[in-house]
Amino acid sequence: MTVQELAGAAAYRPTPPPAWKPLTDPAPLLPDPEPYRVLGTDAAAGVDPDLLLRLYAELVRGRRYNAQATALTKQGRLAVYPSSTGQEACEVAAALVLEERDWLFPSYRDTLAAVARGLDPVEALTLLRGDRHTGYDPREHRIAPLCTPLATQLPHAVGLAHAARLKGDDVVALAMVGDGGTSEGDFHEALNFAAVWRAPVVFLVQNNGFAISVPLAKQTAAPSLAHKAVGYGMPGRLVDGNDAAAMHQVLAEAVARARSGEGPTLVEALTYRMDAHTNADDATRYRGDDEVEAWRAHDPILLLERELTGRGLLDEEGAGTVREAAERMAADLRDQMNADPPLDPMDLFSHVYEEPTGQLREQEARLRDELEAEHGPHGSETEEAR
């Protein structure tokens, strides 16, 4: 018997195609060629001063967080840290546009977005410290685990948003990915699923110019990454990723669009990674100081500071208060990260399956014996550590 026979292919007659409606006007889907900007333009006057100040405080705190985390790698307290210095406006805006019931799907570079969303700074770093893969309960914070395999979190965001909609919850998922990640198959599959399902998802691409060492020009031949949206049937927006107000506005619009049932949006944020890919990378091998310097003049904190002081919303004293708060956060983080996390090797077996298999039970017993041979009855060593 052939597969076709088994599958009863004979009984299957293709039905005539349903009336297929081509998009009569793709123009609304196409991104503007110029990245959207607010700061330094007339549009800035319309932005709520409280929001600007909130963004400012978060940017300063985020910059300090990045610096502190990078310092912790030098002290051996973090195994690795992919800094988002220079990209704080994207990170902070992504966190602030979401309601409590919404979900954030961060990549490995987006610790800051998780922290800006309210996650405990230490819990957010356990992956990078190396004691836990995910040091928090994703459901409690509605933050998916920081995702290391590129773009694989994007279909999760689609599935979750789709499930929420099926349940009648007006929940939105915001998923973050880098420019390099847009070349991965999962990126394309996620966008296509989201558009077909009209899932309430916002895709945020942080185009920081490089995927480790590979510049955007070697990543894509598209006019912009935002253009990719059009082929899937969703709008693409290009935005200045260092302009916190523009980021907030564009993402907030995309979130509102998703929430009202109009489907997904792809947002490309043009930004720049000021630090190396991670502390382990040598960025001088693939880019010159002049390029980095040019971007320094377009720093997200600088842009917002200029706006705030220009409008008399921020003075030296106010800025000082913000910096002090950031300093306190950093000191607190340093203190907490200076303590060795308590670890129980027996935890290795705790969360592989709901019930450990017989095979795992045997291995668990072996490790317990080894630990007891080393330290005496198991438990004493970890009690001390606590």
């Binding site: 018997m1 052939t2 597969v3 088994l6 599958a7 009863g8 299957y12 836990r132 893969h133 995910t134 309960d137 994703p138 459901r139 409690e140 998916a144 685990p145 395999p149 694989t152 994007l154 279909p155 999760h156 965001a157 689609v158 599935g159 979750l160 948003a161 789709h162 499930a163 929420a164 099926l166 349940k167 929940v171 998922a173 198959g185 999962d186 394309h188 599959e189 996620a190 296509n192 699923f193 077909v196 935890d347 705790s350 969360h351 592989v352 399956y353 709901e354 019930e355 298999t357 017989g358 095979q359």
Partner: protein, 344 residues
């Protein structure tokens, strides 16, 4: 983990009919969906068409497109979306159309489905069932006959189960959907249309997954097998009686977790064992099973544990597959080799 559908034999009043494995699988999906609104089926052609093997036939009609969804054609996307759905409290059942077309989803399976419970310290288990038709013997052209179980078995965090009977098709699928852990549910293609008397109104109690079963008691050697190779082994056992061999046949049903107790108890009793499967032998399931038996039953063994497996070749073209698939003769040859004498 355990669901009881219609518990005791006394309640099993339904009239037995001739049912195929495909029908039993479909019935399991239907019952699970009817019982729990969180159960969603998604995949390629699962809706209107009812799946290329018709396992999901009627589900879209009964439960609607939102519960039985024809997805875009993208396996990673399907499984990735299922991850997100499970994160939000649903219990997705994903259909992969064929064994070799599940590979695009391998990354999602290994990096996320298998690991989410562990990554989140138990906070976020993923109750996803991934149904994959597998194996050969149906004259499929290339990429339609792979036995991919070894890949899944080697991935910690997944359960891997495979039914060989109509009754188990129902029971194991219900148990898989009820499991809070992800299950790779391998459906032996060539048994889809195998029929047996089965009572869909009153299916047997659903056991937790992880237990092997002795399909045929015997005393001279144990054949250990699963899925598509079970009928081959049962036939071989019948044929072997002519040679005076009384073979026991163990159907594993679950490859992960592996039922060491049932297997070891059988081999200790018989002193001889042959592992039979159609996936390639090298680094295949048989190697693991033989090693486990040797570790547990060394002093009871009268002969080395033998393996009868598919050759270590990409699955052959349909006109050649009979040379590749372990058949009754190859199993009997192995049994003959169990009359082993040490070469001094």
């Amino acid at each position: 983990m355990t669901t009881t559908v219609a518990a005791t034999a006394g309640e099993r009043t339904g009239r037995a009919v001739q049912a195929t494995m495909a029908q039993a699988l479909g019935r399991a999906l239907r019952d699970a969906m009817a019982e729990d609104p969180a159960v969603h089926v998604l995949g390629e052609d699962v809706g209107t068409l009812g799946g290329v093997f018709r396992v999901t036939d009627g589900l879209a009609k009964e439960f609607g497109d939102d519960r039985c969804t024809d997805t875009p054609l993208a396996e990673a996307g399907i499984l990735g979306a299922a991850v997100g759905m499970a994160m939000y409290g649903l219990r997705p059942v994903v259909e992969m159309q064929f064994d070799a077309f599940a590979y695009p989803a391998f990354e999602q399976l290994v990096s996320h489905v298998a690991k989410m419970r562990n990554r989140t310290m138990g906070a976020m288990p993923l109750p996803i069932t991934v149904r994959i038709p597998y194996g050969g013997g149906i004259g499929g052209v290339e990429h339609h006959s792979d036995s991919s179980e070894a890949y899944y078995m080697a991935t910690a965090g997944l359960h891997v189960v495979t039914p060989a009977t109509v009754e188990d098709a129902y029971g194991l699928l219900r148990a898989s959907i009820a499991s809070d852990d992800p299950v790779v549910f391998l459906e032996p293609k060539r048994l889809y249309w195998a029929k047996a008397a089965w009572s869909p109104e009153a299916p047997a109690a659903v056991e937790p997954i992880g237990r092997a079963v002795v399909r045929r008691p015997g005393s001279s050697a144990t054949l250990i097998t699963y899925g598509p190779s079970l009928p081959v082994c049962l036939e071989a056992a019948e044929a072997a009686t002519a040679e005076g061999w009384d073979l026991e046949v163990v159907d594993l049903r679950s490859l992960v977790p592996f039922d060491d107790e049932t297997v070891a108890a059988s081999v200790r009793r018989t002193g001889r064992a042959v592992v039979v499967h159609e996936s390639p032998g090298f680094a295949g399931p048989g190697g693991e099973i033989a090693a486990r038996i040797t570790e547990r039953c060394f002093h009871h063994l009268e002969a080395p544990v033998l393996r009868v497996a598919g050759f270590d070749i990409p699955y052959p073209p349909p006109m050649q597959e009979r040379h590749h698939l372990p058949g009754v003769d190859r199993v009997l040859d192995a049994v003959a080799r169990l009359q082993w004498e040490a070469e001094s």
